[in-house]
């Protein structure tokens, strides 16, 4: 462990910011915890047998076989971000292993907190072994940082083995001077399921990411859901990609985007490369104030027997819908908030209640501040 910092050492403000990104510092409804403040690992622990939460360094020392998983799903040569992370002599990040057959009801939580440093780099590896089911929440936040700038470079590699499942819920709670570059990819084997959920309702200077799921095993499933709000000054270039390489593989990419003056580029790409595959891409955008929502859905089918579809719509709140609710007694603001709340209400099949509640709670915070 590289740092003596404890959770109790964190300032009240830092604790609050961390909690807003879905991290439970009392660890009540969580099965394990990893906290990294800048480059210092604050805590790693796991109470649940069968699921290990380790720092990257400790994991590499403990398991020799882990080397095969390092820079496998994500190439270290992909871009400047991956190169920067790969060049680190003292790599940080977490490794979570759900051993064969393990199952957690309470999620494992990982908190990546940018406190003072200019750049936080992490390299995470998450493995669900055969038949394992792993639910994770990753809260990424920044605190006493405003005005100083900073960046988060995060590489995450997910490996979902035969009949295994990973749900990964990421809630971002940065500030308007932070740039964030996640680089993540997953490899899903036979009957494996990968659910990736992304929520960002708070300002950020720039987020740029395009996680890729490669569905290598028959009947594997990937579902990406993103719920984002972009405020003035925020630039969000978001996407998700699914490569369908085995019969029966299916993918769904769902985005709900709201701009209140910021920029959202919503990309999506599904490639159907073998017969018997299905994919659907859906992006719905609401423009509440002049900004930009640029939806770029791509579907690419190269064989007979792959079925791919997409649906994209960008618009404003419909007056007849608002007035319909007003005719039931809600004032204009209440009616507007109720419709926006409904717009963002993406129920994610297969997600534990605790995580769905956490997603709902971050939307609630935004709703209370008037979206």
């Amino acid at each position: 462990m590289s740092s003596p910092i404890k959770v109790s050492d964190l300032s009240k403000k830092d604790k609050e910011r961390i909690a807003q990104s879905g991290i439970d510092l009392e660890n009540k409804n969580r099965c394990g915890t990893y906290i990294q403040m800048d480059q210092d690992i604050v805590q790693t622990e796991c109470g649940d047998s069968g699921i290990e939460v380790l720092s990257y360094k400790r994991a590499i020392e403990k398991y020799d076989w882990l080397k095969e998983y390092v820079w496998n799903a994500v190439s270290s040569e992909k871009d400047d971000i991956t190169k920067y992370v790969a060049a680190q002599k003292d790599p940080k990040g977490y490794v979570i292993i759900a051993h064969k057959g393990s199952n957690n009801v309470m999620p494992v939580q990982a908190c990546l907190y940018l406190g003072k440093d200019q750049i936080q780099h992490v390299h995470n590896i998450v493995i669900a072994e055969e038949g394992a089911e792993l639910h994770m929440i990753s809260g990424c936040a920044s605190g006493a940082h405003v005005g100083k700038g900073g960046a988060h470079y995060g590489v995450s590699e997910f490996y979902i083995k035969k009949n295994a499942k990973i749900s990964f819920t990421m809630i971002h709670n940065w500030t308007e001077d932070i740039e964030v570059y996640p680089r993540s990819a997953s490899i899903i084997e036979e009957n494996g399921v990968f659910l990736s959920n992304y929520v960002c309702m708070q300002p950020v200077k720039k987020v740029q990411m395009y996680p890729t799921a490669t569905l290598k095993g028959a009947n594997s499933v990937a579902r990406f859901s993103s719920i984002v709000v972009s405020t003035p000054g925020s630039y969000m270039d978001l996407g998700s990609r699914a490569i369908l390489e085995a019969p029966g593989a299916s993918a769904e990419l769902i985005t709900r985007a709201i701009t209140k003056g910021g920029t959202i580029i919503s990309r999506g790409h599904i490639s159907g490369r073998v017969a018997g595959t299905r994919g659907h891409l859906e992006c719905k955008g609401l423009i509440l104030k002049d900004g930009l929502i640029y939806a770029i859905p791509e579907i690419e089918g190269s064989v007979v027997g792959t079925e791919l579809s997409h649906e994209a719509a960008v618009g404003k709140l419909a007056k007849d819908e608002i007035e319909y609710l007003m005719s039931r007694g809600l004032d204009e603001d209440e009616a507007t908030a109720t419709i926006i709340r409904g717009f963002l209400d993406v129920k994610i099949t297969g997600l534990p209640e605790a995580l769905q509640k956490q997603i709902d709670a971050s939307i609630d915070v935004a709703e209370k501040s008037g979206f």
């Binding site: 007003m326 005719s327 039931r328 007694g329 809600l330 409904g342 717009f343 993406v346």
Partner: protein
């Protein structure tokens, strides 16, 4: 309860309602008849306060208060409610969530009320998305049961409803209008648009009005008017220029 005086209404640049006068007393239910496009729905939407309908002249008084310049929610909060013929679909907003939002108190047992109009399985569905004609009407009735308005406007409550459900809708609307109460105790009033008149079996309307070309042309016993229209159509009403 509701008084309309010399009302003129424009939609866009075109005047569609001309000099409407109507008085509906407490406990009374009136029926509005008329051919398609005659302005019946426009009148209801104007009374409800929808912004596309511009009042250029005249007044709407509700319980003596001038509501002409009020927004829809202010009218709703004063006790005006409406069953829409074609309500909008709201993508993502669940019926149950909407009912919770319009519920005035926490005491209302929404699942129980939903069950009473066979809508319990729709609480987790997006409002009106993929609903059949009958389901839309049951959803509207359910919303009104929670809203519990004193003045209920019903825009073709029976259209699209199958025979099995028409008595359910009819009886429920009957209770919304307190038709189960003695005349003297009845406080709720209504204004109903109907083409078929089936709904009249459940709500015993007091008066009927015929609207043609944006004017109310005649008044009378609703069943007699309906019988007349069924026999002779609206031809004479359309020709009639002197109500």
């Amino acid at each position: 309860m509701l008084q309309i005086k010399n009302l003129h209404v424009k939609v866009g640049d075109k005047e569609v309602l001309h000099d409407i006068n109507l008085h509906i007393g407490e406990g009374e239910t009136h029926v509005l008849l008329g051919p398609n496009g005659s302005g019946k729905t426009t009148l209801l939407m104007t009374i409800m306060g929808f912004s596309n309908y511009t009042i250029t002249q005249g007044k709407i008084l509700f319980r003596g208060e001038d509501v002409t310049g009020m927004h829809a929610h202010e009218r709703a909060q004063r006790g005006i409610g409406m069953l829409f013929q074609r309500p909008p679909t709201i993508s993502g907003l669940k019926l149950g969530k909407m009912l919770a939002a319009i519920s005035k108190t926490k005491d209302e047992n929404i699942p129980e009320l939903a069950k009473s109009v066979h809508m319990d399985k729709f609480l987790e569905r997006d409002i009106n998305k993929g609903f059949s004609g009958g389901e839309i009407k049951r959803s509207e009735v359910l919303q009104l049961m929670i809203q519990n308005p004193d003045f209920v406007m019903l825009d073709e409550p029976e259209s699209g409803v199958d025979l099995e459900n028409i008595s359910l809708i009819g009886t429920t609307i009957g209770s919304l209008l307190e038709k189960d109460k003695h005349l003297i105790k009845r406080r709720k009033s209504g204004l109903v648009i109907t083409h078929t008149g089936y709904i009249l079996d459940y709500i015993d309307a007091d008066k009927g009005h015929v609207m043609c070309d944006g004017q109310i042309r005649c008044h009378g016993n609703p069943r007699e008017i309906l019988k007349d229209i069924k026999q002779r159509g609206y031809k004479e009403c359309l020709e009639c220029r002197h109500p």
